[in-house]
């Protein structure tokens, strides 16, 4: 191996009692795509923050092109030629795309706008430079992030879970971009927990578990199973086999629903039709920002339809269009929203109080007052069954990591034993062990006859879970595709709107 571009020796970082990184040695070769593989909480993000200068290590040393490297700030890192594409907290919503980029890249607005358009064309990262970021979808925002980074011409580019919001075609395109960048002399640190992706695009992989390195491997020499074992320290749980069902009764039916939201930035839904039957999981695929959140709000009851639009949404056979969220829940509906903090849970309240938010009708009240012992027992049961890592049931919801909070919320809703369960992004940010457990649980519930609707951006997940899949694109829903008979490429075509919807399959 040639002299490494970046080399870390004995890097450690603790936050109070928690050792986020312990004794990390890492060499990144020039012109390589190097994967950092690990579960949520394994210390990947901390390590990247140390490399990018957001935080400083407690111990250890780093060299960059053979010279000692000490980074005081991200600006320092950028000057050296290290760029990072963040997942969170990095775009300014009230600024336009080009203004966001101008904060990092010197140059006049018009030149930058031209550069943005050119990069968009070259790498399939199309985005309107003059659009305000708050009007962009999550997917488009990520494109802005990537463009912003590419425009600083880095020698080392750190990408934090870059594929999570892209459709399969764009993932391939992105990989092509990354290979081109590598051949042009840029090294890439690719953080991911998606094993197949790492095998497809990376030359090297470093695996982290519990803040320590558990292996440096060439991912092409190992199959996904091996990598997973190194990552989680045990074998992957097997997916639960789905029992074949003949269609049960209709639990949710939407018929030809059109909806134009009041919010000027929201997506207008047109002609939405779908059916979820008992003992069936229907998945909704699509790139984020194509109407998922608007559709979710209509189903959950957060958006109530006007009276004149009756007979559009049915739950358990009842027209629920004008009913609010609580009334729909009383019919046996449960909902796990996409945003955990603020919609799925109240961050400042304890887990017990958060259980009460939706579970109070299931025996947690006594004569209208909170039955504290029972609420506590319910919460502790949920924590135990769903492997929520928390000091106890009195912990504030906001103190849990994203993945653990998700496990808690999904668990809470499942414990209500609803007839119809609607889960948006069931395993977002959840580590793969726990994600597999959540999926197993969903399939088990389906086998017992629950009707389940899942919105997800992860195609692998939908293929593992669902009986059939519909794709949402620009507020329109594709006909249902039976999962067994379709392929990711086909779903992908619908995701980017390349599929003609003329050949409608009868539902």
């Amino acid at each position: 191996m040639t002299a490494p571009l970046l080399s870390l020796r004995g890097i450690s970082k603790s936050y109070g009692q928690i050792h986020a990184n312990r004794d990390i040695d890492l060499d990144v070769a020039p012109r390589s795509i190097h994967a950092i593989l690990g579960e949520n909480g394994a210390g990947k993000s901390t390590l990247m923050k140390l490399i990018y200068g957001v935080e400083q290590p407690d111990a250890g040393s780093a060299t960059w092109k053979g010279e000692p490297l000490a980074l005081a700030s991200p600006a320092d890192a950028r000057r050296k030629g290290i760029g990072m594409v963040f997942q969170h907290f990095s775009l300014f919503e009230t600024l336009t795309v080009v203004e966001n980029i101008r904060l990092v890249v010197p140059g006049a607005k018009s030149d930058l706008a031209q550069g943005i358009r050119k990069l968009g064309r070259d790498f399939g990262l199309e985005v309107d430079p003059l659009a305000h970021v708050h009007s962009l979808s999550v997917g488009e925002r990520q494109r802005v992030e990537i463009i912003r980074c590419l425009m600083t011409r880095p020698e080392l580019l750190i990408l934090d879970e870059p594929t999570s919001v892209l459709p399969p075609q764009s993932v391939d395109k992105l990989f092509e971009t990354l290979r081109r960048l590598r051949d042009g002399g840029v090294s890439i640190l690719f953080i991911s927990h998606k094993l197949e992706e790492i095998r497809a695009v990376c030359d090297r992989a470093t695996i982290l578990r519990g803040g320590r390195i558990t292996g440096h491997v060439d991912p092409r020499d190992h199959d996904a199973h091996d990598l997973a074992r190194m990552m989680i320290g045990r074998d992957m749980p097997q997916p639960m086999p789905a029992v074949a069902h003949s269609g049960g009764e209709k639990r949710l039916e939407i018929v030809g629903l059109d909806h134009r939201p009041d919010d000027p930035f929201a997506v207008t839904l047109s002609d939405i039709s779908l059916t979820v039957r008992a003992g069936e999981i229907l998945g909704i695929a699509g790139i984020s920002g194509n109407g998922q959140s608007e559709l979710a709000a209509l189903i959950s009851g957060e958006t109530v339809l006007p009276r004149e639009k009756s007979e559009r949404i049915f739950m358990m056979g009842k027209d629920v269009g004008v009913l609010d969220a609580a009334a729909r829940r009383r019919l046996g509906f449960a909902f796990v929203p996409e945003e955990r903090l603020g919609r799925g849970a109240v961050p400042e309240m304890s887990l017990v109080l958060n259980s009460l938010l939706t579970a109070h009708p299931s025996g947690l009240l006594k004569r209208g007052l909170v039955d504290t012992p029972r609420a506590k027992a319910f919460t502790e049961e949920c924590i135990r069954q769903y492997d929520v890592r928390t000091p106890g049931s009195e912990t504030e919801a906001g103190a849990l990591s994203g993945g653990n909070l998700q496990k808690f919320i999904v668990g809470r809703e499942i414990m209500l034993s609803p007839k119809l369960l609607f889960v948006a992004q069931p395993t977002w940010g959840v580590d793969i062990g726990a994600a597999a457990a959540i999926r197993r649980r969903l399939v088990a519930l389906r086998n017992k006859g629950m009707g389940i609707l899942v919105i997800s951006e992860e195609l692998e997940e939908l293929f593992e879970l669902c009986d059939s899949i519909q794709v949402i694109h620009q507020g329109r829903l594709s006909p249902p595709l039976v999962t067994r008979d379709t392929r990711p490429e086909e779903i992908g075509r619908y995701m980017i709107g390349a599929h003609t919807t003329a050949e409608k399959v009868p539902a």
Binding site: P74, A75, S90, E93, P264
Partner: protein, 303 residues
């Protein structure tokens, strides 16, 4: 001179204290800092300028000293609110009261004394137009304030400096991650706001009504803070708002002078009533506030 001509001619001068203080507060708020001490900063600037002008130091020196003094007091606010991350509302109120107290203390022996104001500079031809001609005869501070308004607007619209201030106000964490010194930007924004509040006070005391009376700022600092929301953090709207308040406060004077049969207390409370009504209307438009509001306003930043 009829009432209309009176209002047209005096509107800009009456608006200037509101305008300067509100623009300063707008800059601080856009960086994410809510400084409620504007009233006190203006009061301090007013007395400092008055003392210097009274003792023959001249208006230029008076304005400079007022700006410096108010900036210094606003930096005390910044050290406590940004450095020690104390609650911005509480610290702002305390600093405001301190400023008013200092103003009363220094002003004790100057009560009811007068100084000479500034001459009007007329634009040739334009100032001879009937009715609106008065608009084009203003003192130098008014002209400079108009220039400053345009300059501040341009900084936010076109320059990277303005972009950085907005970025810090909207998402300090991301700005920090990009390598911008969040706390330093906020200190600078607060100090700039302090300088303008000092100028605003100085204008009120040594140009607009060149007579010292304790409490002469009379709530104009508070209206300036309201004006920032009124203008949804946009320079152009704040300018229009300031003009409106200038006109309304003159209108009540004009109405009293023409002997209109309305109680004078009601007329002089007009600007405040208008503030409440307009704020109510603006706050009911949530989309407007969402698009222009400052996301991190009033929140301390911790790295």
């Amino acid at each position: 001179m009829n009432a209309l001509e009176f209002i047209v001619a005096g509107m800009l001068a009456a608006a200037t204290p509101f305008l300067l203080a509100a623009l300063g507060e707008m800059v601080a708020e856009r960086a994410g800092v809510l400084n409620l001490g504007v009233e006190g900063l203006m009061a301090l600037g007013a007395i400092i300028a008055f003392i210097i002008v009274y003792h023959g130091g001249g208006h230029l020196l008076g304005f400079l000293a007022a700006g410096l003094a108010s900036a210094a007091l606003s930096l005390v606010f910044a050290v406590i609110a940004l450095g020690f991350r104390a609650n911005q509302v509480a610290v702002g109120l305390a600093i405001g009261i301190l400023g008013q107290g200092l103003s009363a203390l220094f002003g004790k022996t100057y009560e009811s004394l007068t100084v000479k104001g500034l001459p009007k500079l007329s634009l040739p031809w334009l100032s001879d137009i009937p009715v609106i001609g008065g608009l084009f005869a203003q003192d130098v501070v008014v002209w400079l304030s108009l220039a400053a308004t345009v300059a501040i607007w341009a900084v936010f619209a076109y320059t990277k400096t303005g972009l950085v201030v907005r970025a810090v106000g909207e998402n300090p964490k991301a700005a920090h991650a990009l390598g911008y010194p969040v706390i330093a930007v906020r200190f600078a924004a607060v100090a700039f706001g302090g300088v303008l509040a000092g100028f605003a006070g100085a204008y009120a005391a040594v140009v607009y009504t060149p007579l010292w009376a304790d409490g002469m700022i009379a709530g104009r600092g508070w209206i300036a803070i309201a004006l920032v929301v009124f203008g949804t953090w946009l320079t152009s709207r704040i300018f229009l708002g300031a003009c409106l308040f200038g006109a309304v406060s003159l209108a009540s004077l004009a109405a009293q002078a023409t002997g209109l049969d309305v109680s004078s207390q009601l007329l002089s409370s007009l600007p405040y009533i208008v503030t409440i009504i307009v704020l109510g209307i603006i706050s009911s438009n949530r989309r407007l506030l969402k698009l222009n509001g400052v996301a991190s306003l009033g929140e301390p930043f911790e790295q």
